[in-house]
Each structure stands twice: as C-alpha cells, then as structure tokens.
Symmetry: C2
Amino acid sequence: MSTVDRPGLSDSVAAAVDESRLWAAHVALASIGGTPAGGVCRLALSAEDAEARRLLAAWARERQWSVAVDPIGNLFIRREGQDPRLPPVVTGSHLDTQPTGGRFDGVYGVLAGIEVLRALDDARIGTQRAVEVVAWTNEEGCRFSPGMMGSEAFAGIRDVATMLVVQDANGVSVAEALASTLDATPDATRRPLGFPVHAYVEAHIEQGPELERTGNTIGVVTGIQGTCRLRVEVRGDEAHAGTSRRGQRRDALLAATRMIQAIEQHVESCDPADDVRLTFGMLKVKPNVPSVVASWAYFSIDVRHADDDVMLGLVARIEPICREQAGGCDVKVTEIQRALATRFEGRAFDAVLAATRSRGYRHIAMPSGAGHDARQMAQLCPSAMVFVPCAGGVSHNEAESAEPADLAAGTRVLAHAVHELANT
Amino acid sequence: MSTVDRPGLSDSVAAAVDESRLWAAHVALASIGGTPAGGVCRLALSAEDAEARRLLAAWARERQWSVAVDPIGNLFIRREGQDPRLPPVVTGSHLDTQPTGGRFDGVYGVLAGIEVLRALDDARIGTQRAVEVVAWTNEEGCRFSPGMMGSEAFAGIRDVATMLVVQDANGVSVAEALASTLDATPDATRRPLGFPVHAYVEAHIEQGPELERTGNTIGVVTGIQGTCRLRVEVRGDEAHAGTSRRGQRRDALLAATRMIQAIEQHVESCDPADDVRLTFGMLKVKPNVPSVVASWAYFSIDVRHADDDVMLGLVARIEPICREQAGGCDVKVTEIQRALATRFEGRAFDAVLAATRSRGYRHIAMPSGAGHDARQMAQLCPSAMVFVPCAGGVSHNEAESAEPADLAAGTRVLAHAVHELANT
C-alpha cells in the first residue's frame, strides 16, 4: 500500500476529532455511577459497569462496528480494516473506577478510542488493519483484588480460572459478577482469550502533576515504574482494655502500626529524593471495638519504583522489619503482585511521538507512576501511552478533573498515531 | 428486728446455693447467641438479648417474683420483702456481650442474683427488705456507644433522651431496638427511672489474672479505676499510590499510625510500672483500598488508671501529641466518656468482706481494672463487688472460662451479704 498520502490522511482523522462530542461522551459515562460529590463509583463488574458497557455497545451499533467479549469480560469494539486477516491496532483502557473515583481515570482511554473510530468514520477514511477499542475488565482491583485482570488474562500472565474464583467483600465471585455483566451485551460475539495485536496505544490522564506544572499538553510515556503489592497479616490475642497490662498483651493493631512506621522510616532514611512510592492504603482490624485489644490486623503495602533493583531491595526488607516489630504477635507477609518496570519502545512509541510532533502540541517524554493495562500489552506487542494533564495531579479521587481541550488534544494524537499504525 | 439469728440464716441461704443449678443456668444463657467457637455474641437490645430476658422472666414467673422494666430497658426481678416500703437491696449485672464475647462476663452477676433468690426461696427465708435482681441495659457499648447506658440512666448521670437517638452501624436507633426488646417481656410492669436503693452488690468474673495467679477464690473489690475514652479523627487527601510523592501527601492512615505510636511511646516512657491501661482497639480507614492514599482515619483511645491525676494528666497530653504527629492532616480529638476512680466503702463493702470471711474462702482485696455498672450505682448508694477467677484472666474473648465451683463460691458470698443487707 502506498504511504504517500498517509500524513495528510492522519491530519484529516485528527481534525475530525470532535471536542464537544468527546466531552459529551464523558458526561454520559460520568452519570453512570455518579456520586453526590461529583465523582464516580463504577466498580468492576457491577451494575454500573454493565450499564456503561451497554451504552458503548449501543454506540457501536449506531455505527455498525462489531462488538465482542472474551472469557474475562474484556469488551472489544472493532472497526473493520481493508484486510481483516491482519492483526489489528488496539486502543482503549478501562471503565471501572475506585469506590470514590473520578470521571476520567480509565474511561478517557476508552472514550478517546471511540472518538477515533467516529473521526475515521466521519472523515470517511478506511485503514488497512482493523482498529479495535478495548475496555479491559477490572483494572482497579478494589472490588476484586488484584486488578489488571482483563489485560493480564489477555496477555497470558495470569490464568482466568484463578481470577474467576476471587470474591468481593460480600462473597460474590468474579464468575458470578461476570455472568450478570455479560448479560448487558447479549449481542456481543464471544471470542477466545487473546489474539495477535499489531500495536497497542492507551490514552490516559496523567494522574500526577508534571504536565500541569511544566505547562505541557501531552506526555509521551516512556514506560511504567515497577510495582510490588504485599499483604501483612498480624495475629495477637483479644484482651480486656481495662485489665490486661501492656506487657502481657499481644496487640495486633499496635504491632501493625509499629510495622507501618518502621517501614516508612526505613524508606525515608534511604530515599531522600522521594522517588520511592510507598503506600499503606488498607488496614483492617478485628474485633475493632474500643474496649478490646485487637487480635487481628491486616494491611496492604504498595511499593513502586522505576528501578527494579531499588524496588526489589526494599521489598526484601519488608518481612524482616515486620518480624522485628511484631512484639510477640504472629506475622505473615505475602507478596500478591509483582510487575517489573516496563519500557515503551518500537513502532507504537515512535508513532505516538511522531503524531505528537506533527500536531504541534507542547509535550514531554515522561514515565508513568501509575500502573496501566499497557504494561501487560507491552509483553505482547509494541505498546505506548499518551498522557494528558489532570488538575493538580489529583486522581483516585472524586475531585479528579481534566479540561475538554486537553482531552481532545490527546485524542487527536491518538487518532493520528492509530491511523499511521493501522496502515503499516 | 432482732439480729441474733441472722448469721445462722445467712449461712442457711449460702448453703442453699446450688452449684449445679447455677451452672445449668449459665449453660442455658450461653446457648442464646452462642458462637461456633464456644463464645457468645449477644449484643445489647438484639434478638438474643430479648431472648435472654424472656428466659429470665419465665424463671421469675415460676417463683412468683415480680418483673419490671424502666424507660431504658433495665429489667428488675423482685422478691418481695416483709416491708415493701423499704428501699430494696439490688444485685445483678448485664446480659449483653462483646461481638466475640464469652459465657460469663456480665451474665454471671445476673445469674448469681437469680440463684440467691432461689436459695432464699428454697431455704424458706424471708427478708425485711425486698431483694431485686437487675439486668442493666447495654453495659458493653459495642453495638450502641458508649456503654453503661442502663446504670448511667438509672443513676441520673446521662439523660435517656440522648441515649435513645444513638444508632448502631446499620442505622438502627436505641429507641427502635428497645421497643422490640421490650416486646419480649410484655407482662413486665413499667416503672419510672430510678428509685432509692439500700445497697447494691455486683458479682462478676475478675477479667484479669490476679485471683488465679495468687490462688484466691474471692476478690473483695475495693474500687474501679478511672476511665477516659477518646476518639481521634484524622483528615487528609486521597491520592494515587503510584504518582503522588510522599512529601506531597496528606496521608490520614500514616498520620494515625504515627499518633498511636507516639502516644504509646509517651506512656511507655512515663509508666515503667505498666500501671496505665492504654488501648487503641478501633481504627477505621477510608477509602481503605490498597492503591489509594487514605483520606480519613478514625481511632479510639481507652485510658484507665486508679489515680485520677495520672489518668487526667495523660489524657491532657493526647491532643498535643496528635497535633505534633499530624503531618499536615487535620485532626480532631474528642473525649466521649470520662469516669473518675470509684472507691467501694460503707455497708455494702463491709457486708461483702464479712460474708467472705464467714464463708472461709481464700480472698484478697483488689481494685477492678474493668468498668462495671457498680461504678454508677456507687454514686447512688453503698455499693460493692465480688470477683471470682476466670481462666488466664481472659475476657472479652470467646475463650472466656470459669469454674462452676468458683462461680458458686462467689454466689454464696453474694447470698450471705445480700441476706445481711436485706435485714438492716
């Protein structure tokens, strides 16, 4: 196929991206699981997730794009290419949110993909390869832990069977929730898991403050820092608050707080540049009543760093520190997820960088602090990401905010890059 | 009235205490709310509490004792005296338990009282004053906080109106739960709150290890240490675990663990004898998910000491310490309950000490580490307590255990003392 006219066509596709339509799509999705504080609670495989999928499928029907789902519930919307046998270009992200999440994390990548398909249609431009928009199942991992289920299953990193038995806090399994979610898109073709992909590009809000701080519109993402997730279970003994002496107690809550402080202080002492991301986001206690010494505490540790050696060195210190601080309690440290640092390179990264330059947006190359489905896809095919600014870098928060013009700019870069990739 | 034959009659009443019957009553009550692990979950004003009250009322009917309830649901079982106009002697404790409570905390004092009435009947011995057995409402305070509602209302320490609006975690109010609980005893006379009491004696398991450790059967309780209960609310900002630097965060969970450790270390440094009881039993976190920096943490502090000056001096340090450790978070410290140290003295204490000596049990005088309804009664009338050993000092725990012979010994002391007091 001739490539002579592609730059011009890519410009046309980018120009056909409609900022108002893209914003209206965000408003529509924000109403599904919208919270009084202006955020979104659309947990993975919930009724709200199903409702969002139903809306996407309806939009696909309007344009006669085909809809498919796979065994973990990943939803694919396909605009056919001139040669259906060629591996498609895939773009997208996820529809699920944190319990008090915002209106852009994840859903932007899906809606940007839909807008690219609409722009291709409106510009009446065909592509050699099909372009597919994907909504990956359960990226966030807050209802069913751990997250990234859809992309990990697709990339063959974890087995679907182990995912289907995971239960939420109410004892509902992924298998049960998935069955009712898939009822929302009864016309979707059932596909087996995984297929060859030519390139994957994911658009996302930055979820950090760098673009805003430096006055840039586009972040060309160079990679994703490594992540390690652990759980620490502490077992002591229940005792009466008024009669048991401190020296006689095995206080699980007190031991857990000591462990958290010791790990935090260890990181503070060896990371003066504040490059390690260390978070204790979850702590559960039993029986959790004021007059009873706690017999059980359970907390999460999330460690991230761009340098795998630094991350793994720190993770190796966590269990010894917990044991030192156990104060007679039993302690069990479990690593539940490990993802080494990812570098984006090759044709997808090159296409995003070239598209950004062509469109003339102010941009920087930058790493991603957050994990994304693109990390898993990078193990399968050339992958890349496009970041746009979000106000104050705030994310995983109902106050999450992004500008319509920035969302459109990122979508124009995506449209340009996807069009290029779909013709190579 | 002649007192010449009372010592002999008190011996007869004590001798009529039936260890097997008392144990059978404990077994019957332990089945109401019994847990698989052998403990009891009989929360205040729950269906199980109502069921326990129904059983007590049935036992009263068998013996033709009268049954009454007051506006906060305290249940009174009265064996009439020769002069009904005289203030009665009251004995009892509470039927409610912690969520993972045991088979003796509280219920022993009520069942020991019932056994005293049965022993008086069986020995065909009348008393000048009526003897009443009371089951105080919501001593534990774990479903509806704070506890001691029944005895505090009876003693006029807190207003019933402020108690009735308290809600449990499911939004059920005390008023609603009380209405359905009182349906369990429809024949009970409705009484106004409070009446003159000649003396109050409460039997209880020690909930500490001293009696067992020193080989004593009876603890003659000299008083109850003071208690102060606080709540600390910490507010920060949600943020993404992967993108926000530690230095930029306002992490409510990290701040709460720092406060807890700083308070604990302060007490360790100024209480080498380990006499201060300091407990952080409850800690709640929002949103409490692994990949989001916590925006809210809420924890309890329970401080107890026999010396009010020590207790209040420590309590005064808590808010400054929390502010020092807030690390940019907002912090609000609220004192929700304060009870100064109580001394048991006067006719009730004297009667318990004399009865213990008369019965010849090995005994010690000892303070109570736990709070009890007797603290409130001591503000109204001469009050006292009888302790019996519990295995390992374990309480507020499903493993709580006591020996039938010890329970009977405490009940014989109670029978002897109550009989004496009911004739003065």
